[in-house]
């Protein structure tokens, strides 16, 4: 038997206002001025319309149709849930409807989709996970067993911490950097703990996430039938297909046929007797690890480099990261909840992603997701805000 494990990442950052050096130290209520509520609402409502609601509905129909055989997992960030609660609670309802089918599992992550796992101390990381746990408890009355760190960032230190916090498994990238000759299509465990490690099959995942509508790809056009056939011919017992939920309808527009593809995927996979679907929790329960992964330096599922250079690849990014990290203790000591919340919203990894100066190939992807003219504009804006935040302590 080979199991297909589908997991979708659901996230929206709080994008920033234009903030000039002349604004530093000039405002009283920071959160109103840092975050571009108008743009954020616009983008959120657009993605709800194009992706979240139609895809949730399609998945609900598919789950009902297949009588529990079609199974999926989600990870939903705290900032995303805040968007829903502020602008469109019905989106949360539609996720609850999915959860109630019993065929849907949820994954834990940091509330703010942050890089706190890379700080010198892991206390902030732990706090943000606990915030997310509380949110999951409140919104879905559920306690996830599997953890996914921001963009699947993983190293041995993070694995140890996650096991200490009581999780059964963790998600990361199935990159050759850690696998060498080994296959990602099995369950592994961390070298320094008993934590199970689910590895993303990036070829098959990116066939949907990145290449689906690419005309100069030799797999084009990708049909559910063809894709199921590839999967049926893939060796291994656990094929992890992890991708951004916004793939459906937002990164790949409706016109590309992505929804038709998704609609026919369960049928085509279940047509093979040796294939079934599992959630992330079930994958960890059902299979035994076949080996250890040893990851002394952080990897991730981002960009071609599959490391943390996406967020910490240049001096500007490192400067912002350090600035934000270093004011943490002082901010917390103020006890000012608004200030702490603002500081945490600024930790969302997207703000550093916009400052990346990577080369052409990844750069094109970066530009697609950025509302700035260039990484330099992203830096100036973000750094100005961090300087302003410092004046508030």
């Amino acid at each position: 038997m080979t199991s297909v494990c589908l997991y979708f990442e659901v996230h929206q950052p709080f994008r920033l206002n234009r903030f000039s050096v002349f604004d530093i130290g000039n405002y009283q209520n920071q959160s109103q001025n840092y975050f571009n509520n108008k743009l954020n609402k616009e983008i959120f409502e657009k993605v709800v319309r194009k992706c979240y609601l139609p895809t949730n509905k399609l998945l609900l129909d598919l789950i009902n149709k297949h009588d529990g055989k079609f199974r999926i997992s989600f990870s939903i960030t705290g900032t995303f849930v805040e968007y829903c609660e502020e602008y469109m609670p019905s989106v949360i309802e539609s996720f609850r409807d999915l959860y109630k089918t019993g065929s849907v599992d949820f994954i834990e992550e940091t509330y703010y989709h942050s890089l706190s796992s890379l700080y010198d101390e892991l206390d902030e990381f732990e706090e943000q996970i606990k915030m997310h746990q509380n949110m999951m408890q409140r919104v879905f009355n559920y306690k996830p067993k599997i953890f996914r760190n921001t963009e699947a960032i993983y190293d041995n230190r993070i694995a140890r911490k996650i096991e200490d916090m009581g999780f059964k498994g963790i998600i990361t990238e199935g990159t050759e950097k850690i696998l060498h000759w080994r296959s990602p299509n099995y369950l592994y465990k961390s070298i320094n703990s008993d934590l199970r490690v689910l590895l993303r099959n990036y070829n098959l995942s990116d066939d949907i996430g990145f290449r689906f509508s690419s005309h100069n790809w030799n797999g084009f056009p990708l049909t559910a039938d063809k894709y199921a056939n590839w999967i049926s011919n893939t060796e291994g017992n656990l094929i992890n297909l992890f991708m951004d939920y916004e793939t459906f309808g937002e990164h790949q527009w409706t016109e590309t046929g992505i929804f038709d593809f998704l609609e026919h995927l369960p049928d085509n996979i279940l047509n093979y007797n040796h294939l079934d679907f599992v959630t992330v929790s079930e994958a960890v329960e059902r299979y035994n690890p076949i080996g250890d992964v040893d990851v002394p330096w952080a990897i991730s599922w981002a960009d071609e480099d599959r490391n943390v250079s996406t967020w910490l690849g240049n001096d500007m990014q490192i400067a912002c990261f350090n600035e934000l990290k270093n004011i943490g203790n002082k901010i917390k000591k103020t006890g000012d909840q608004n200030l702490i919340e603002t500081w945490r919203r600024l930790q969302t990894s997207d703000h550093l992603y916009y400052v990346s100066t990577k080369g052409l190939k990844d750069g094109a992807v970066h530009a697609y997701f950025s509302h700035y003219d260039s990484p330099y504009d992203g830096f100036i804006n973000y750094m100005n805000i961090l300087q302003d935040l410092k004046t508030k302590i």
Partner: protein, 366 residues
């Protein structure tokens, strides 16, 4: 090839372009005779298949804007005389004729007829650019339009300029190729606390926006030095403006600089700004970047569409210009990264690439 300036004498990007282009074309085994007006400074070539031919004795300064009637008469007359001389002098077995901008167009058109060979026209700027889109002079526009119509192929220095040629001169876009400019990298040096403007002091180049941004920056960072390098009809009014703004002790007007002084000033400046109102390309931006100097350019400048690792502003947005200048001075990681990435990207902007693209255009007409 017919031009009007060539190093060591040059007033603008056209001279720089002709120098880089002809030398790289020569390296690519194209034989070139380059015709230009005779000047005090003798231009020369050290390449066998590139000959510089200086013609006559004209007193045209091609970027002049003849305002009064009398001067206008002389100006137009000397332009015609130069063109007549060229038509007279150019003899021989050429495969094609390549002209640059309005000053040489009349000759291009007539030589095309006389020799029966194709005529390629490079457009480095149009009358609309030079006038800053205020009161463009119809005399220039008519010459430009005729030249563009008669040319077999046009090379525009940017998509911005291609659009102007299509929209304002009604030229068929299919005969226009875009070839972005290039630079011989200068190499960097230790930076001083200097913010630089370098260019002709004309309405087109937007020097007054530079001064207004300087005022804002100085209110914030009092110890910054601003330099306005170059000369032009706006020099007196700019000096007055600096006094009015109360920043005359922080702004230095250098007048015209020698080539070595230009290189030096690029290298030691911390920020270069090109706030042009209308800029077909903007080679100076490439020069500054190649000297490791972070550069802020007008969003509409041709260089802005071609180059990633620089900052872009609307020329009228003084607040944003000041924000970017201060950020570059204040945030070292920004300065370092943009300088480093800019110098990396500049290596793609070679004259060899310009020559190869130009040869492609030649192949299309011969």
């Amino acid at each position: 090839m017919i031009g009007w300036e060539y190093p060591p004498f040059k007033a603008g990007g056209l001279g720089t372009h002709c120098y880089g282009l002809t030398r790289s074309l020569a390296d690519n085994n194209i034989n070139i005779d380059f015709y230009m007006p005779k000047t005090k400074h003798k231009a020369f070539s050290d390449k066998n298949n590139l000959t510089i031919k200086e013609i006559g004795e004209t007193n045209i300064f091609p970027y002049d804007r003849p305002e009064d009637e009398e001067l206008k008469g002389h100006f137009f007359e000397s332009v015609y005389r130069y063109n007549d001389l060229i038509v007279e002098k150019v003899k021989g077995n050429y495969d094609l004729i390549h002209c640059h901008d309005w000053l040489t167009m009349k000759a291009g058109i007539r030589l095309k007829e006389k020799l029966g060979i194709p005529f390629v026209l490079s457009v480095h700027s149009t009358e609309y650019d030079r006038s800053g889109w205020l009161n463009p002079n119809q005399w220039f526009i008519d010459i430009e339009k005729e030249g563009m119509e008669k040319a077999d192929k046009i090379i525009a220095v940017s998509y911005f300029t291609k659009r102007v040629i299509v929209e304002k001169y009604g030229i068929n876009p299919n005969k226009i190729s875009v070839v972005h400019n290039a630079v011989y990298p200068l190499g960097d040096d230790d930076k001083k606390n200097i913010v630089l403007f370098l260019g002709r002091l004309t309405i087109q180049k937007g020097p007054e926006f530079f001064l207004r941004a300087a005022k804002k920056v100085l209110d914030y960072y009092n110890d910054t030095q601003f330099i306005v390098a170059g000369t032009g009809d706006m020099l007196p009014s700019l000096i007055d403006k600096a006094v009015d703004l109360g920043i005359s002790n922080k702004v230095m007007f250098t007048g015209l600089l020698t080539e070595d002084e230009v290189k030096h000033i690029y290298r030691i400046s911390s920020v270069y700004i090109m706030p042009s109102v209308s800029e077909p390309f903007g080679i100076t931006a490439l020069e500054a970047i190649s000297a490791g100097t972070p550069t802020i350019v007008s969003k509409t400048a041709g260089v802005a569409e071609a180059f990633n690792n620089c900052l872009k502003v609307d020329f009228w947005d003084i607040d944003e210009m000041a924000n970017k200048i201060i950020s570059l001075l204040k945030y070292d990681p920004l300065h370092k990264t943009i300088s480093k990435e800019g110098m990396k990207e500049i290596n793609l902007f070679t004259w060899d690439r310009v020559a190869n693209k130009t040869i492609e255009v030649y192949r299309g007409v011969t």
